[in-house]
Symmetry: C2
Subunit: 419 residues, 2 copies
């Protein structure tokens, strides 16, 4: 086993699920597991990209299920990458390439962490790798229902929280939910803009509709905040976060209470806009079509279906197409899985980890909790840091963080085995 | 001379000035004129596409300058065309192809109209064909200044008004102006949308800025309407326009006073919008860039420079790039050129023409008036109709209208010669 070469080989495979890619990456990781003595297989469920399942059964009393995803986000805009996204490079102690931070690096670090143990702990291990996380896990619910017995476990380790902006390792006990929609407006045909005094313009209609979604910086969809569980004082006290490094990470100033906002606030984000002529120079046209991609990031206990219904009632005369829907989730900080993660982090990093009641981002954690009837799901043992540029160009991780994650994995499973 | 084959051959040449094309079309029309005994040449001025100049000097007292343009609009969206835009087809009495309506058809009909005359009238003829009209004629002013003597004339015939929605031939005595800008907002880099609670989103900023440009359907840029010369009752009485055929032409309902609005009202049109991820599926990203292309259609006596300054003061924190700037213009209905056009239209079509104080659209007419010191500039003798889809897909004209335009040209020049 070559510590980094394996990861680089994995990153070289384009697994952009939004573009229908992934199969090759699934086969790679299945073969990799088999080559290292783990029973593994592809599960061709209703999803386009197969699930990869692996198992190390040591006949222990307890079982840990490790979840990761092998698909990645689209790489556009390509011209902003300093190197080809699928040709990973080592540079200044870092590895740069699409997916090294989210989520191939964490997947591989955990797997290698286990494979490098001299003696396996008394804990059964199950690995489940998804190929559709980056498009909102549209098939995870039916998959979990159909494979509920196979995936039965006492604990679930989530996809991989890395270092927070405070520099401490992060433990995350939940996820935000998501409602991703494409809204669009149309007329019969493009028109010369000389007709503007009397013709409808879908782009203006879109601007009007988008404007109506925000008021004073807050989301204006009726009832949007009704079910938000605002953080308790105790939960807030566990938050850290370093303002300066967060500002460096996103290249913008952030407010003093940035960490609380990132955890607690639901959002409505414009992820894409398109209408009419966007090429070089000018074209005097009234477009026949205008489109916006919107992601609503939701927090416990907001329900994406309820938000969608509210949105549909609120927005008139536009088409709304749903592209993703994920519920938010939180696990208790007093659970066994949370305690073992906290203690192992202290041991390996020599400092208190930061504990977030939920991540800034999304994953299908609520589906696992609900369908697998498991309320010990937590995240940690990841390779990324705030400057990893995940979902953006020049995605990268530190080699050092990759190696530490392997150590953390070993310490964590030993503690679970001793419970 | 083959009546229609010559036009089809001309249309086959891609002269999309927004994409840097045109040279080949210029050479074609220069060769065509020379082949038919007209002294012609390309003038390589500061423009990318050369001007084509032709002359028939019969040593008459008076001179008519005929203006047309050989460049065309971009053809996108290509998938909406029923046939290839540069492979013109004859269908149901029509010719379909990019540029047949705007402006290659009118250019060719006038030229053939003259060439087919048994005896040339006692009127000197000058032809000037531009290759940058569709990108806002950025070099026309300096060209006219440098070639003022060459282009000296008593009358100017503009690019070609065809049939109005009333079915009557149209005479147009002016043009709207234009201010075309690209406004954009930026941050340092694309971000994962999980940062939305604290990060700036240029797309939201753009929506906010665009919203601020309209209020109650009117343009909200301060002072925008200050210099508008609203139509007099007399001018309004010359307007016709058929509501039903206008609605068919643009596939939308229009208000009762549509014709007045189309002539009289200045507008702010969104011609293009772009930000973030616009491909298939979903990408949860905060874009680092958002852009809108806007065309302001101006009426006499609005000044594009003044409107631009007002816009710059009004919009904060956005980049404004100017892509086009044309002043509006009107000629008197009592001028000789207007009277000859009206009388010849009556003769050829057997009905009163519709007379518009200015067109719905734009052209560099004001530059001709100001620089050539000529206040007898009028439009007519065109081949298009309201369903021509100019600037859109499936651009087309009726063969019958093409042939009639040639007749009108002959009657017009005879009348001018007899003044």
């Amino acid at each position: 086993m070559n510590q980094l070469e394996d990861l680089l080989e994995f990153v070289r495979i384009d697994t952009t699920s939004a573009k229908g890619k992934g199969e090759e990456g699934a086969k790679f990781i299945k073969d990799y597991m088999e080559r290292h003595g783990i029973e593994a297989r592809l599960i061709r469920h209703q999803s386009k990209n197969p699930y990869v399942y692996g198992e190390i059964n040591v006949k222990a009393k307890r079982t840990l299920l490790v979840y990761n995803h092998y698909d990645v986000q689209p790489v556009e805009p390509l011209d902003r990458w300093e190197s080809d996204p699928f040709t990973p490079v080592m540079k200044e102690g870092k590895i740069v390439g699409r997916g090294v931070g989210d989520d191939k690096g964490s997947l591989m670090a955990r797997l290698q962490g286990i494979l490098e143990m001299e003696k396996l702990p008394s804990l059964n291990l199950k690995f489940i790798y998804e190929g559709e996380e980056e498009i909102g896990s549209p098939n995870i619910d039916s998959f979990l229902k159909d494979y509920k017995d196979l995936l039965k476990a006492d604990y679930v380790l989530w996809e991989g929280a890395g270092k927070g902006s405070s520099g401490a390792p992060e433990i995350v006990l939940g996820v935000k939910g998501l409602l991703y929609v494409e809204i669009s407006t149309r007329t019969a045909k493009d028109l010369h803009s000389m007709y503007a005094p009397v013709a409808k313009n879908p782009a203006w209609k879109l601007v009007e509709v988008l404007s109506s979604l925000k008021r004073d910086g807050k989301v204006a969809v009726p009832g949007f905040y009704d079910k938000v569980k605002w953080l308790t004082k105790e939960e807030v006290s566990f938050l850290k976060g370093d303002k300066k490094s967060m500002e460096e990470a996103i290249s913008q100033e952030v407010p003093e209470d940035f960490q609380r906002r990132l955890v607690e606030e639901p959002t409505c984000n414009i992820a894409g806009l398109y209408s009419g002529y966007t090429g070089e120079g000018s074209k005097t046209v009234i477009p026949s079509y205008a489109m916006a991609k919107l992601d609503f990031r939701l927090v416990p206990e907001q329900d994406p279906d309820e938000i969608l219904n509210s949105l549909k009632s609120y927005l008139r005369d536009v088409d709304i197409r749903v592209l993703g829907r994920v519920r938010p989730y939180r696990t208790s900080i007093n659970s066994e899985v949370a305690r073992c993660l906290i203690d192992s982090a202290k041991e390996v990093y020599g400092m208190d980890p930061e504990v977030l009641p939920n991540s800034y981002g999304t994953g299908p954690m609520e589906s696992f909790a609900r369908i697998l009837e498991n309320n010990q799901i937590a995240d940690g043992i990841g390779v990324d840091y705030p400057g990893s540029n995940i979902h953006s160009f020049n995605e990268n991780i530190f080699v050092q963080d990759y190696l530490k994650a392997k150590e953390w994995m070993r310490s964590f499973v030993k503690r679970l085995a001793q419970l």
